[in-house]
Symmetry: D3
């Protein structure tokens, strides 16, 4: 769950001084997709209770995997965009772990495709939260 302080940033849009294309970056995009990943892992564990009457448990699980694959890809994509497009050399100086944190987070997104365990999804969310903290630190 995002910390209260994360959402207490009335100036967030005003801070977005970056270049075209969009100039608007927000780790929330990666986080929302990662929340989907974890939610799918949870539902997979309770397939019997979560599936619709119109589908079998096997079908439901197969759909979980297909959809998780896509969501995890979107997590990766949003993180990669942040890493390459938003972060600048001066940020790296202030946050020497920047590269490693992104590497771990995108690898965790890849691992999420191979894991049906919600605690794995939570680890992914924790790594995204680290990135989110660095991101908003650079906005100050």
């Amino acid at each position: 769950m995002p910390k209260l302080s994360e959402w207490l940033r009335p100036t967030r849009v005003a801070y977005a001084h970056c270049d075209l294309p969009c100039g608007v970056y927000d780790p929330a995009q990666a986080r929302i997709e990662a929340e989907s990943v974890k939610a799918i892992q949870q539902k997979y564990q309770d397939a019997e209770g979560q599936k619709k009457p119109s589908e079998s448990v096997e079908d439901f699980k197969a759909r979980c995997l297909t959809i998780k694959e896509e969501r995890a890809d979107l997590v990766k994509h949003h993180l990669w965009v942040l890493w390459t497009d938003y972060f600048k050399p001066e940020h790296l100086e202030a946050h020497p772990d920047l590269h490693d944190t992104f590497w771990k987070a995108t690898k965790a997104a890849g691992d999420a495709k191979k894991s049906q365990d919600p605690s794995q999804g939570q680890e992914l969310l924790d790594l995204i939260k680290e990135i989110d903290s660095i991101f908003w630190e650079t906005k100050k």
Copy 2:
């Protein structure tokens, strides 16, 4: 700018009890893309000051249009998903303008492709904010 109260929702993930696929919905996805749309419209107006030395003003403007086209499409997509997948008949009863608000907002996203005026982008953001209010109302 999102109202402070919009971000003061520590329980937001806990509220997401919807069906697979993801069960996680958030109007922030549409909003972030719409912020990009408006930022591009602003940069278009100041093309001379915003372009890189390595590109001409004409090139910069052409790129603004191409990228805005995509971002506006993403706004539409995220709104359509919310409308069809998240909202249920009981929400419509409580918010009889639901369909119309979404229709206007997605049409405004389409208009954004044809307008380089940031005030148009602001109208789009205002409509998304209306949707955001309804959305979080239903989560209470």
Copy 3:
């Protein structure tokens, strides 16, 4: 099966007076994808008889689900485009059920992902036919 009268429209292209981007709309795009959805549901029911010798029944069914997911998404997409881009306020006045019909049809496309029953696919096709009737009514 589309009614004969649906195809008896020699003037269909001439009627397309809408704005760029394309100015050409046709509910046939949604219908063709929905026919695929129903055909996949039918083949799923006869997996043993439909699968290739080079794949197992389980594999065939898993592929049915993956492909149906995509086709159903395309149905949604084509319907959303019609709803937002083609239909105008004057059409809504003449067809007050417009929003609801699109909402039901796109929701039925979503349900198609969770159902392997061809009668569900038929319901989706019936809803698209309603939209098709309204569409051609507005072209008169």
Copy 4:
């Protein structure tokens, strides 16, 4: 304009006995996108009269090109799918020009990206009509 006889095929869905993925093929998909291509070429020629007040002639033309690029790609895609997935060796025997007709049509779709002349778009539509005739011939 599609010939009346083209639309007089009440059995069209019943004929679709092909393999999963979809088993449903229809040259209408390529034709609709090609109609968009031609409509864009026409609007480009009348940019002054077609553009919205909120965009310049240059912007409108740039958008025409971007959108035409995508539509022409979709024409290619739908034709390629028909060629590889629908047509079988026995069809080639009965229609020895099959390969060449598809080659010409997909090349014409590529040329459409480089031409703003609606008569070029019409040539593309004529080639798709040839394919449509062959297609329905094979369905008899």
Copy 5:
């Protein structure tokens, strides 16, 4: 490891006399995706040994199928682009089997979706190698 001489082909780009878009074609794109297809077929056969501890054999196989579906689509796409965009009538004269070879290869890519047998993937690779030979023959 690509030998130095591979990077020392000053004529490679110079040979690309085709139209914008890219003017750069290379059958390696199709080949790399086809190698993925075959690798997935091999891993499917050894699912027990290849799966991660965090996933079941059934899950691993389902993911194999989903991913193979996409990779095979990319093979088709790259081959179609080569066929339509790169090859010219004079190439067809010199290589009268051109159309048929591409038809077979793209059909083999389609078959790869329905087969978990690595020897099927090898046949696909062999067909791509034929195309590769023709391609480089035309570059001489």
Copy 6:
């Protein structure tokens, strides 16, 4: 022309001990797209000589930019996949500049969208070649 010896690398696939999805990685994918980027920059410089008679110089340049945008995105994508999916901690130990090289290369791909100068495209190709060297070093 790829030499016979290129196809005679029996160890190429065998070297790919990575996880499903594909287990097949090759920096050639990024390189080919980057060659397109540079070729487009070159053609842009000679727009008058490169455009088709059916398009204006302005149209040709606008299309150059749109297509370059996509190709540059593909370069980024292929590089990101290599960085996250292929490279492992032991590779980082042996090549401590790994992260930085990928960061520079993906940033150069982003810069390519804003530059019409072929020497910029060459810098991108040089960075990809560095990555290619590291990649094949790890395969030894």
